[in-house]
Symmetry: C2
Subunit: 337 residues, 2 copies
DNA sequence: TATATTAATGTAACCGATATCATTTATAAG
DNA sequence: CTTATAAATGATATCGGTTACATTAATATA
């Protein structure tokens, strides 16, 4: 690997001139610039970015904490992040946390050890307040998809409450009265918002809220299956199930079918996210579409703005949702409710 | 951010001693070590890894080129890579290539600009021979999931030919004679191997190969749907469809159902990969399970071994597969063939 | 032509750690 | 109590760029 000194020597100029010829060509005479560029080409010189970044103190790396890349929705978000990061000259250091806090902390520390400039997290259960206390320094962080309550932090999110409300209204309009919700972990703000939207719609329609219809899942296909199976075993089972993501909805559909019931004939099912599989389930899934890639690109933009000091006070960017009506939701069975 | 000089000053020793106290404690007296560690703790000192890596010339970053992270199988592979990389002190720079060669080249160049030590690619259509020629230097690279023909390169892969043969045999044993295959892009070595396995089984069973039953897809749900629809429109449609991945199989199932046929009553469908959705399709999908996470971890191990000069001549690691029989494959309809 | 001003280039410090080599201090052997 | 040997520590060059400052060359102004 040739370095800037080799280039300088070959071009017969100083290293400073080489650096300027490449970084601020205006400061170098045409004649010299030509000589330098010719030497660069001849040697196949590529600046050592490790050195550049060490000198500048900017790594141009961003840590991304993802609960699980196996989640199709997150995969799309990551895709959007990667594209945006690349466009702006940044790279992503991906961490699949798998709910392992030690792993999260370990990656978050990369910002303090100059391996990354900032951090993006999706679905933040555990804020890094603790870590920040300990190190005393601030961690440039952006949150995507889920709002962090305890920390003022730039965030890009959906109006989850309104979206959940809209879907619940859709089910109410179809005549459903017993609408179950397969939600996420109880402590998650995301779940809290969506449950709130669900209750908003019930309240507005004068339908009593029934705690037993609220079932906690963990966003996996399996948990959707289990939840639906148990909900159907209730004394007064639901005629509609609203799931907090599409994976659980697809799992729920299988559970309902295995119980000998039809979707949406006996039970309607709605999802959230509009992953690619949603349109290919049987029946195709009614769901809330989120601009997943845009979540990613917006999060990256926010973080870079934050790093460049171009950001005011922790903005919250709200992206639009879209209720996609397919065949998994239909009129409530006659005589129900 | 405090640096090693701050620590040295506070501890009343030289920077060299601080460095040794942290890197090679045996070379430092207990008394001095204690002083240093105390100063480290008091200042919250964390070594600047940017500096360490610049000095050492090792970035401890690995570039990962993924055709698309939206593919569930690849997501699992990445998960395995991330885990293994973290365990060994490496980070992953993820690139979602989306079949964009410019993007691939751009990320591959990161190795030449000292942003990464090596590269892992999945499904390599375009070898970097060209890039290597141009730069003259070798690119430490490992290939996963798909073998690269033109370059001798450490690889971790499945015996795709045997796996495809096994699945085809499974269908033959069920009495199917007209077995279609929804394959990937024609130029892919992966597809070539799997088609070869498919033909091996047909030949062994004395079933004539029919070119019209070989349909090229692109690994998406949509392409599986389209392929199945068109295959069923043939004068002599297949009674079984073997898809090169589960997404296409799930798409195919939908296409078959929409044509008014049942799976597996009229047409059996088999997939490849055993993604999480496979067990939740309707009917649950018969497929080939691959140790996806192990692909990832093995690829990372191979690359690190390669970087450390611990590798002989481009080994090919072959991981085992498992035929998972579910309900999407059944006996050929009576009177077929 | 002399002088002021600007453009072009060079010199060298610097970023933060590591590691070589030199030097001092502690221990062992005679 | 020396002297030889080992252990502990310090001073400093180094990695490859960038950049502040110094210096020289070129042009403009009087």
């Amino acid at each position: 690997m040739s370095n800037i000194r080799d280039v300088a020597q070959l071009a017969g100029v100083s290293v400073a001139t080489v650096s300027r010829a490449l970084q601020q060509p205006d400061l170098v005479s045409l004649k010299t610039r030509t000589k330098v560029l010719s030497a660069v080409k001849q040697l196949g010189y590529k600046p050592n970015l490790m050195a550049v970044r060490f000198r500048s103190g900017k790594t141009r790396n961003l840590v991304v904490l993802v609960p699980t890349v196996a989640n199709v929705f997150f995969a799309r978000v990551i895709s959007g992040m990667q594209q945006a990061a690349h466009d702006k000259g940044y790279s992503l250091l991906l961490c699949n946390t798998l709910a392992d806090e030690a792993m999260e902390q370990s990656y978050a520390r990369m910002v303090h050890t100059s391996q990354a400039d900032g951090l993006i997290q999706l679905r933040a259960h555990n804020p890094f307040a603790q870590l920040e206390m300990k190190t005393g320094s601030v961690l440039p962080m952006v949150n995507a998809c889920e709002v962090l309550d305890r920390i003022a932090c730039p965030t890009v999110l959906l109006d989850n409450r309104s979206a959940a409300c809209a879907m619940t209204e859709h089910l109410l309009q179809l005549g459903h009265k017993r609408i179950a919700m397969i939600k996420g972990p109880a402590r998650s703000p995301l779940t809290r918002d969506r449950v709130a939207g669900y209750r908003d719609a019930l309240d507005a329609a004068g339908v009593a809220f029934d705690e037993s219809l609220l079932y906690p899942g963990d966003f996996t296909l399996q948990s959707g299956h289990k939840a639906a199976t148990e909900l159907l075993a209730l004394a007064k089972p639901p005629t509609a199930v609203f799931c907090e993501n599409d994976e659980m909805a697809i799992g729920a559909i299988q559970g309902i079918k295995q119980a000998g019931l039809s979707v949406p004939g006996d039970v309607s099912v709605a999802g959230f996210d509009d992953i690619s599989f949603a349109a290919f389930s049987d029946p195709p899934l009614t769901t809330i579409a989120q601009p997943a890639e845009e979540f990613g690109s917006t999060a990256v933009s926010l973080l870079i703005d934050l790093l460049d000091g171009r950001l005011g006070k922790a903005p919250k960017v709200i992206l639009p949702f879209d209720l996609i009506q397919r065949d998994s939701t239909g009129p409530a069975p006659a005589g129900s409710g």
